[in-house]
């Protein structure tokens, strides 16, 4: 600034009073100021473009055209960083001749980290100005050969967003001078901040659209999955009243319960938990429930159903398995038989107290060949059975503490007079977790004998 003022040409002073507030400036100084104002205007224009559109390709082409114009450059290119392959690939390349620029993109030219000038910039996260690339050993000549383009001078700037490296932008060959200046580098870096913002905005937008599609898909899956469970979670048959609750940790889950009538006068109650959770568990749950309905028809013995299911699930994908308990209750006499496959014990609530029923059990279904067995009991008037999945006692509170089986049993002991234990426990879990994220699917089934 000082230099410019020193070199200014001073006009003759004709009217001292009239011209006393005027400061004469040199033409060079004026041109510099004009250029800076023009650059600033372009940067402001680019800013407003970024906030007005999410069309990524259009946006980047536009910004690059502006950069090329403002910097009087022959070409401009952007290499995007692919985190998975740890490589850079040409995403946009604008030169005066469209045909040559398309070649780089068509051939999908990629650079490793550290390879070429762009690779160096990506690796070191530092911008570079190079006066003559052919004197720089980092320069990757193949891109020039492929493009039939002669790179002379360039500025390369890393594009960095909130989640790290996005790519590298390069402006190539000034038209009006032999190489770029520090001022050019400053302007181009400002452009690169805009380009990074545009890339991030567009990625966030694409991700949010994908998330929304995924969310809608999950909503549909959730409705579909509920359709696999019994239509009515509560019913009475003979002297037996059954009620259930199923709360998946996510929209969909891998817990199962089902009620069937295998033979006249008896009710079959299955409660199960597929390993894992989310989509894979939900899909496997759907397969298991249809297998169960098919294989349990007319079968009066729970162990026979389990043996058949175990064979059917032996080729489970990715080691998936099912822990389950299957009860068959005679609705006229209260006699019931139960088989267990690696499932948590059930609780027997009677006038005399609460008993933990850890009956002989086989391993979870779908792992190894096994001969399952069953145990037989008889319900007395007022007796209740509570069957649950581990999500009930694995529930966590806000400080990450698990409820635990012991605490659950203590709660049941204290509240065994409640009309609906299922509802009471669901409320208790709600209070216990107090807004903490549900970590596992929860299923509870209560069998009440009149």
């Amino acid at each position: 600034m000082k230099n410019n003022i020193k070199n200014k040409s001073v006009p003759p002073k004709k009217d001292k009073d009239k011209d006393k507030d005027k400061v004469a400036v040199s033409a060079v100084y004026l041109r510099n100021i004009e250029k800076k104002v023009e650059d600033l205007e372009t940067i402001i224009e680019v800013s407003s473009i970024i906030s007005s559109t999410l069309d990524y390709s259009k946006l980047i082409s536009l910004i690059m055209e502006k950069a090329k114009h403002i910097m009087q450059a022959e070409a401009c290119s952007i290499l995007q960083y692919d985190k998975e392959s740890n490589k850079l690939f040409f995403e946009f390349a604008i030169t005066g001749e469209r045909v040559t620029s398309n070649l780089l993109l068509k051939e999908r030219v990629t650079l490793d980290m550290g390879q070429g000038i762009a690779g160096w910039v990506a690796e070191h996260l530092e911008p570079v100005i190079i006066e003559d690339v052919y004197l720089d050993e980092r320069f990757y000549r193949e891109a020039d050969e492929l493009n039939n383009f002669k790179t002379k001078s360039l500025i390369a700037v890393p594009l960095v967003g909130r989640r790290g490296l996005l790519g590298v932008a390069m402006i190539i060959n000034p038209k009006d001078k032999s190489h770029f200046s520090d001022y050019d580098a400053g302007i181009f870096q400002t452009f690169c901040v805009q380009i990074s913002a545009a890339i991030e905005n567009s990625r966030f937008h694409t991700e949010s659209v994908q998330m929304e599609k995924f969310r809608q898909g999950l909503e549909i899956a959730s409705v579909l999955q509920k359709s696999f469970l019994p239509e009515n979670p509560a019913f009475t048959k003979g002297n037996l009243h059954v009620s259930a609750a199923n709360i998946p940790a996510e929209k969909i889950g891998g817990d199962i319960y089902d009620f069937i009538e295998p033979v006249n006068g008896s009710i079959g109650v299955l409660v199960g938990d597929v390993s894992g959770k989310g989509i894979s568990a939900a899909l496997y749950m759907a397969k298991i429930i249809s297998d169960f309905r098919y294989k349990s028809k007319t079968i009066e013995y729970p162990e026979v159903v389990f043996n058949r299911l175990n064979v059917g699930l032996s080729n489970s994908p990715m080691g998936m398995f099912l822990t389950a308990a299957y009860f068959i209750v005679d609705v006229n006499t209260g006699q019931f038989t139960v088989s267990a496959a690696g499932h948590p014990p059930f609780l027997w609530i009677s006038n005399s107290g609460v008993k933990i029923m850890d009956i002989p059990s086989g391993p979870p279904l779908g792992i190894i060949q096994y001969e399952y067995t069953s145990s037989g009991f008889t319900l007395q008037s007022g007796d209740r059975l509570l069957i649950l999945t581990d999500g009930v006692f694995d529930a966590k509170n806000k400080i990450g503490e698990r409820l635990g089986f012991g605490r659950l049993v203590a709660y049941v002991k204290e509240h065994r007079e409640k009309e609906s234990l299922v509802q009471a426990i669901v409320d208790y879990l709600h209070d216990f977790s107090n807004g903490a994220e549900t970590s596992d699917d929860i299923t509870l089934v209560e069998l009440k004998w009149k």
């Binding site: 390993s275 894992g276 959770k277 990715m318 398995f321 499932h343 391993p363 979870p364 792992i367 190894i368």
Partner: protein
């Protein structure tokens, strides 16, 4: 979760530390399936420093076990912490896995 692999002349020890859950089990799966692919004769998983395992983690072991049984390979567990053993007992997985007190016991059995 941290995984360390130590190859011995006739068995491989996979030592796991931390939590084996839905998020960490894919890495464990890759390690175990690489051994299965090579038809490793004996794999011993050392669970001494495992703090927690969920059913996704157990399924990863089940998959390795089933795949190794198919070519008569041996999948063994050693130094299972009490907390993990409780889960195994509760789920009757002690009927599924061969569990040993020490790596030496597992190697010599």
């Amino acid at each position: 979760m941290k995984i360390e692999t130590a190859a011995h002349s006739d068995y491989t020890v996979i030592s796991i530390a931390g939590e084996i859950d839905m998020y960490s089990s894919p890495e464990l799966r890759d390690t175990l399936l690489a051994l299965v692919k090579k038809k490793a004769a004996t794999v011993i998983v050392n669970l001494k420093d495992v703090k927690y395992i969920d059913s996704s983690g157990i399924a990863t072991f089940v998959e390795a076990l089933k795949k190794m049984l198919a070519y008569k390979g041996k999948f063994k567990m050693a130094q299972v912490p009490d907390r993990v053993m409780e889960i195994f007992n509760f789920s009757k997985l002690d009927k599924v896995f061969n569990i040993y007190g020490s790596i030496e016991d597992a190697a010599n059995s």
